[in-house]
Symmetry: C2
Subunit: 252 residues, 2 copies
DNA sequence: ACGGGTTGTAGTCAGTTGGACTGTTTCATT
DNA sequence: AATGAAACAGTCCAACTGACTACAACCCGT
């Protein structure tokens, strides 16, 4: 709360707003997608100091006239051209002193899960932009600027939880999808292996988690029965059909 | 991310940090406790404009030299004298334009669950401070300053989730507690009624959710068998013993 | 001190869920 | 056509859930 004006650090009771510590507020967006069965995060290579040449997650300054959500949405559009309003969710704030070597910066971190990042074009100032394996970021193979490694780690933890209680899993796949595709989302995010038959039974229950379209997808190159195509049913809030196995976890 | 310096809104590429929109960053702490079987939130009555005389949740400015967590911890100590480092968890950021009529303020909201707030003393500048029923805040009986109603609502939603997946429930009770006390926490937070026998079976499983102390508490004034005293076992991360009933919810 | 009311604790039982598994269908490839 | 691969369907069993009943321990009244 901002107007408490207890005498603290010499701040007068009837304070002048300009006298309070000034911060820059930014929003950073962790864009996750699934590619070749592996979680990927969209990174940009910084063109300027500090951390020039290093990878970082896209983001930018919040404007006083916009909400945090709008800022994140705007940044996402600017960086990727994707309008993912419904997919954006705030998951953390980071404000450690010195996280930006130049000034006081507090950043609000957002998470966006996309099925397809589309044509990745480096931003107007970024040297490069591309998808990078999340595991490579977390194990330090790829170093990130600022405290972005921690942000990515937190984002992953968040999406692991979100995928269980909300229907974010469908965001990883297209508007229509096969159950195998949807299942691979859970498997990639949780790092587990799920039984295809049981998965089908859970998802295609009387509740309309997914809706059959009647059409079938083309079978893979290995042949096989062409799978049924589904589209996302009612966005399942508060308790999805698939529960994260935590007892007897089978690593993939 | 702060150093991206795309040309946006006239900001030059080689920018001057002082030219970026300045914000004040605050931390607000929602302190929840259980009193008489009802969820309570600690509020302070504002002594100054704006919103003078209105209730609000305690909070204050983040200093550039401290982390967000430290700021929340400091505020909590200053306002309540309680050191609840382990209990504090960040759950949201709020930065809508105009949420503070005087300046650009982004606040990071924290949640603390206490078993006993202790002697509530109004802060140095607050006119009053006391526990207020959460339901009275949410239904508008008590009006809050700024967007604090939304913050409290979000905090409640957060604790409802936290209590299921982590062991926050034990934070509502003392270091030793009876199972009835612990059960009443779940009932109050979720607004449900749980079967005492089944609750016991779930919590006192082979896994050490709670550890019996051997001692017994004094029975209530109405008599009855004196209940066994437990203490919190291993902090259960990722999946507690009690699952929130969402299918057949029995209202209390 | 005795018995009834109250509360904690233990046990039972039916219904449901979830994991593992087996079998069948349906297609492309050869 | 035969083969193989994948989708789809059904079975089995263990574990869990919710509701209920029975017993035990204790306070309080008379």
């Amino acid at each position: 709360m901002v107007t408490r004006s207890r005498a603290r650090g010499g701040v007068p009771t009837g304070y002048d707003p300009t006298k309070f510590p000034a911060f820059a507020v930014t929003v950073d967006v962790v864009i996750l997608t699934l590619s070749e069965g592996e979680l990927q995060v969209l990174l940009v290579r910084r063109g300027e100091a500090p951390f020039a040449g290093m990878w970082a997650i896209p983001g930018g300054f919040k404007l006083p006239t916009e909400t945090l959500d709008d800022a994140a949405k705007r940044e996402l559009v600017e960086e990727t051209g994707v309008d993912a309003t419904a997919l954006l969710s705030q998951f953390g704030a980071y404000g450690d002193p010195g996280r930006d070597p130049r000034m006081n910066v507090v950043t609000i971190a957002y998470l966006a899960v996309l099925r397809d990042v589309g044509s990745i074009a480096a931003g107007t100032d970024a040297v490069d932009a591309s998808l990078v394996s999340v595991s490579k970021v977390l194990d330090g193979t790829i170093e990130l600027a600022f405290d972005h490694v921690r942000i990515v780690a937190d984002a992953l933890e968040r999406v692991r939880l979100d995928i269980e209680v909300s229907g974010v899993a469908t965001a990883f796949v297209g508007p229509t999808f096969t159950l195998a595709e949807l299942r691979s989302v859970y498997e990639a995010v949780w790092g587990v292996q799920l039984d295809g038959a049981n998965f089908r039974r859970s998802v295609v229950s009387d509740d309309a988690w997914v809706i059959p379209t009647g059409r079938r997808a083309a079978p893979g190159s290995a042949g096989g029965k062409p799978p049924e195509l589904f589209r996302a049913g009612r966005a399942w809030k508060a308790g999805g059909p698939i529960r994260r196995p935590h007892g007897t976890r089978k690593k993939s």
